[in-house]
């Protein structure tokens, strides 16, 4: 179903798209360098985890050398490993800083910090202290860069989500956060989060993307983090690959139409029973 944009939003989105087309955005692999193999990367004092977090991709920290909570946290075999203050994590931090500065240096079109309810097309956006409650819709293939001074997402089942339409993918979404990012409990967050300070994923949150913190810690709690192996940039594909943790798939019991049908069937049967009852009298 086509998405109709309010006129002012359409103009803003079109403006941002034009900016994105005019800017020489590097390919994502080039942008992240060696950090592309990391799903979680922290700096100081550590990376911490509580509970049965499952990560697809490497988990690292530098210049600190402390990662706690693995196990019970685990890395899907074959997707990555732990890097505690080693040269691999050091290089990944260097590359993360480069990527962060590249994203921060882009000129973004201003959008409201309340991201819920907005519909964006590919481009660079500046949202200030961004918060996501409700649904942010991204429509169309291409890169999405959202610059924010801080980022929070609402907690609770279905309280915050990003919807991708028309070829938009989670792996093409980049969050450049000027301080810290807090992903709410039960949130199903999407995109690569590059934060200047810290990143916290609430209990049972999922992140299809990466959590890369330049100066602070990354805190996990019974989460699922899936390093993006996809995107519209050449060399990337969308969706979970074998062995990659998926973003949790919602499983509705009954659709709206099924519920209407069920209610109708019950009503018909009830009316039938009442008619039989009337005959018995």
């Amino acid at each position: 179903m086509p998405v109709r944009l309010p006129r002012h939003r359409f103009a803003r989105a079109a403006c941002a798209s034009a900016l994105a087309l005019a800017l020489p955005l590097p390919g994502l692999a080039q942008l992240l360098g060696t950090a592309s193999s990391f799903a979680v990367l922290g700096a100081t004092p550590n990376v911490t985890n509580t509970g049965a977090t499952v990560v697809s991709g490497s988990v690292g920290v530098w210049p600190a050398a402390s990662i706690t909570g693995f196990p019970p946290g685990s890395i899907v075999p074959g997707t990555g490993s732990l890097h505690l203050g080693d040269t691999v994590a050091q290089q990944a931090q260097t590359d993360t800083t480069t990527a962060y500065n590249t994203l921060a240096g882009l000129t973004g079109a201003a959008i409201a910090p309340a991201l819920g309810g907005q519909v964006l097309t590919p481009g660079v956006y500046s949202a200030g202290a961004a918060n996501l409650t409700g649904t942010l819709t991204l429509n169309g293939p291409g890169l999405y860069v959202i610059q924010a001074t801080a980022l929070t997402t609402a907690s609770g089942p279905g309280a915050s989500s990003v919807v991708f339409l028309g070829g938009a993918t989670a792996c093409d979404l980049w969050w450049q956060v000027g301080s810290s990012a807090a992903i709410g409990t039960f949130s199903a967050m999407q995109g690569n989060v590059l934060a200047l300070t810290s990143i916290t994923l609430g209990t049972s949150a999922s992140l299809q993307g990466r959590a890369l913190a330049r100066n602070g810690t990354v805190t996990l709690d019974s989460d699922a983090v899936t390093a993006c192996a996809g995107g519209s940039t050449p060399g990337f594909v969308v969706g979970p690959a074998p062995g990659i943790p998926s973003a949790p798939v919602p499983t509705p019991t009954l659709s709206e139409w099924a519920m209407i049908l069920l209610a109708t069937l019950l009503a018909v049967a009830g009316v039938g029973a009442l008619r039989r009852r009337a005959k018995l009298r």
């Binding site: 019974s222 919602p250 019991t253």
Partner: protein
């Protein structure tokens, strides 16, 4: 008959509206959903040690596949429709309460089976998961609720039950 239909619609609308309020979501729906995930994980873990449960999420530690039991996935909506029909139908209150408990139980038991089966179907084949999720299990849940409803109506057929219901309906 018209009274039954009107009360049925009113109760359905009322219960759905109530279910959507944030306090009830926090106090009932979210814990119920988490409980469903825990029960499903415990049952699955009895034969598969690689099942993890965290909140509403059921996850495989071997391949990372996860399903999320969202609002609308917990069987409450189907149960609400059934419960509304039972409350709207003229019957003795004891009979209604027994029916509500039985209906809630029947829908939830089948929903646990649905969640576990979808968890493994999704790991085996995304196409099978989609088909079962969109068609098979919706039909089975509807049949389950309908069967409980018809059995409940059948148990009401004894004339003394009708007489009792009529007596309750007549104002003193």
């Amino acid at each position: 008959m018209g009274r039954f239909l009107a009360i049925f619609v009113a109760i359905v609308v009322g219960l759905f509206a109530l279910e959507l309020t944030p306090p009830l979501q926090a106090a009932v729906v979210a814990p119920w959903t988490a409980g469903l995930a825990r029960v499903s994980a415990a049952l699955a873990a009895s034969f598969d040690p690689h099942v993890l449960s965290a909140g509403k999420v059921l996850r495989s530690s071997t391949n990372g596949f996860a399903i999320s039991i969202e609002a609308g996935c917990n069987g409450l909506e189907a149960a609400i429709v059934l419960i509304a029909a039972m409350l709207a139908f003229p019957a003795p209150w004891k009979h209604r309460l027994i029916g509500v408990a039985a209906g809630l139980g029947a829908v939830q038991v089948l929903n646990v089976a649905r969640v576990i089966s979808l968890f493994y179907l999704g790991q085996w084949s995304p196409a099978a998961f989609e088909w079962a999720h969109l068609y098979l299990w919706q039909a089975l849940i509807m049949l389950d609720a309908l069967a409980v409803w018809l059995v409940w109506l059948r148990t009401l057929r004894a004339p003394e039950e009708w007489a009792s219901a009529r007596a309750e309906a007549v104002p003193p």
